[in-house]
Symmetry: C2
Subunit: 329 residues, 2 copies
């Protein structure tokens, strides 16, 4: 417990490990708040706490995930992310080597995204009172002139797009859970989507909704959009990009890929006349090669999500009532 | 674990409890990112994770504390706080009644401060994997024209002020710890200081440093300032405002009030010619009645903090080497 209490041991931990990893002017200044110049206009702010287990998984770790997750929330608000904060809750006795690996991964993700972590905080709790490390990240960004996205803006006739295969993150995490572990080459799709979103908004400024289908997967996201916009949603199973390995893992575990989490995917809703341009723009981006138009917004007075199955039937895509995949992010 | 997984149970928890408490347009919108209009210019961002135990203590609780703590960090950066985010890590089985009490307390603190909580996130971990609830808050604010504060700006001759009695929060927390509990009327000083700071900066825009002596207390803060500014610091024990009950509790526990945490206190450094005006301004504010000039910045090439004791001697005020008071905030 010598780290985390405001004493010299903690100060040294923060100074050396964090400032070395997050090597920027704000962290170097060593103040409790980071100062920066922001342009006037609309801003967005998003926060995400990360409790994923295990901390290291195929295709990522909690560090990179915590950067991607919040960058994506800012991007889904229509924002170009500017700055991130990071708050750590560390379990006493957590190996410093693991912490360094996680912090280095955050720093690399932040550099790659071009969005610095400008301020941070660390608390240490007794052994058994946390699960290694929990990381909160919060991000702020600016919204380009003319852009207004929101879950309440979907209109009947709008098209619904995704930028690639569904369920990769959720199934990659489950594949390495002690109690479930199964053999697969699946990797998490954890990625920062703000570059893709910037390209999409430049091509189609009139995008109505953007959302990342993380916890709860595509089904939660579509149901949220249906409720917020007071519309129906129809998707076609045949159009949903799902990897064979994800299908297989879901079958093995008795799960539905539509409920599985994603960390590098987005759902976009746009007017029908923009859908093809948006699709082409997305496919031209490295993070959108497998993009697809998966359905449309229906003129319905009930906020239901329906799916045309591969066999030509129709089924309701319902929210999960309980917890299918805990600690997935 | 049915809450926290993106399913309907979690959605209902967030919708009903959080949106009811944080009753504002951003939370009502139900998007993952909150959008707002910010003025151009310098902004500050600060983050703080809260793991205080017990969750409810004399003079406050983790909810109000998590609002005050981050508002104060923004204010110490010279910023007028604008917006807050809140990230919860909840232990499975944590009583909803306690959560409601905590969230209501956050909401009340946020309303009183005039700074809305605009976006939030909740994760649930298994029983035994957290300690009730941990709360991260992150805040953004704008810095008034002409204000530049920073821990590296103290200059020899500058005066050092505090806004009231030291160690109240730390000793109030310890008084109700299961393993230490002792009888006292002490209350935490948990309070939002941005109103006081605004008055101070209006009266003395040239304030050099502002910092809240939370974990590690006054001694950690003064040592940080000495290191960042590469100066010495001299304080006078006779000028330090410390309650009789805090003295007694510290004596009982073998602790030093200078190392005890505060949650409604600040240390200000200003040029000598402004010190009296600043002191008067602080004393005129409800949160600064017991303000005092406690010492000055010394012309020294070693970043040492020295104290003239009440008996006329001099002693070094050192950083704690270990953890005196874990989980104090």
């Amino acid at each position: 417990m010598a780290h985390g209490g405001g004493g010299r041991a903690m100060s040294r931990l923060i100074d050396e490990l964090f400032a070395a990893a997050f090597d920027n002017e704000w962290m170097a200044a060593g103040n409790d708040a980071a100062a920066f110049t922001a342009p006037a206009g609309r801003m967005v702010m998003a926060t995400d706490s990360h409790v994923v287990t295990p901390l290291f998984f195929p295709g990522g770790d909690i560090g990179a995930l915590s950067v991607h997750g919040t960058l994506n929330d800012v991007a889904m608000g229509g924002g170009r992310p500017l700055y991130l904060s990071a708050g750590f809750v560390l379990e006493e006795g957590f190996p410093l080597a693991d912490l360094k690996r996680i912090v280095d991964s955050m720093a690399a993700a932040s550099r790659e995204a071009g969005v610095p972590v400008v301020t941070g905080d660390t608390k240490v709790v007794e052994q058994g009172k946390a699960d290694g490390v929990y990381i909160n990240t919060t991000g702020v960004g600016v919204v380009p002139e003319g852009v207004t996205v929101g879950g309440n803006r979907a209109r009947p006739g709008d098209r619904i797009l995704v930028n690639g295969t569904l369920g990769d993150h959720g199934m990659a995490i489950l594949s390495v859970r002690e109690d479930l572990g199964f053999g697969t080459d699946l990797q998490s799709d954890s990625a920062a989507l703000h570059g893709l979103v910037a390209a999409m908004l430049e091509a189609v400024p009139g995008i109505r909704c953007l959302r990342d289908p993380t916890r709860g997967g595509l089904s939660a996201t579509l149901n949220e959009l249906a409720h917020q916009s007071e519309v129906g949603v129809r998707v076609r199973e045949a159009e949903l990009p799902v990897r064979e390995e994800v299908h297989a893992a879901c079958e093995f575990l008795g799960l539905d890929p539509l409920n599985a989490a994603n960390e590098g995917k987005l759902v976009a809703v746009c007017p029908p006349e923009s859908a093809e341009v948006l699709l082409e723009t997305m496919r031209a981006h490295p993070l959108g090669r497998a993009s697809a138009i998966i359905g449309e917004v229906a003129d319905s007075d009930r906020p239901l999500v329906e799916m045309e199955t591969a066999f030509g039937g129709t089924r309701l895509v319902d929210w999960l009532h309980g917890e299918q995949l805990p600690r997935i992010c």
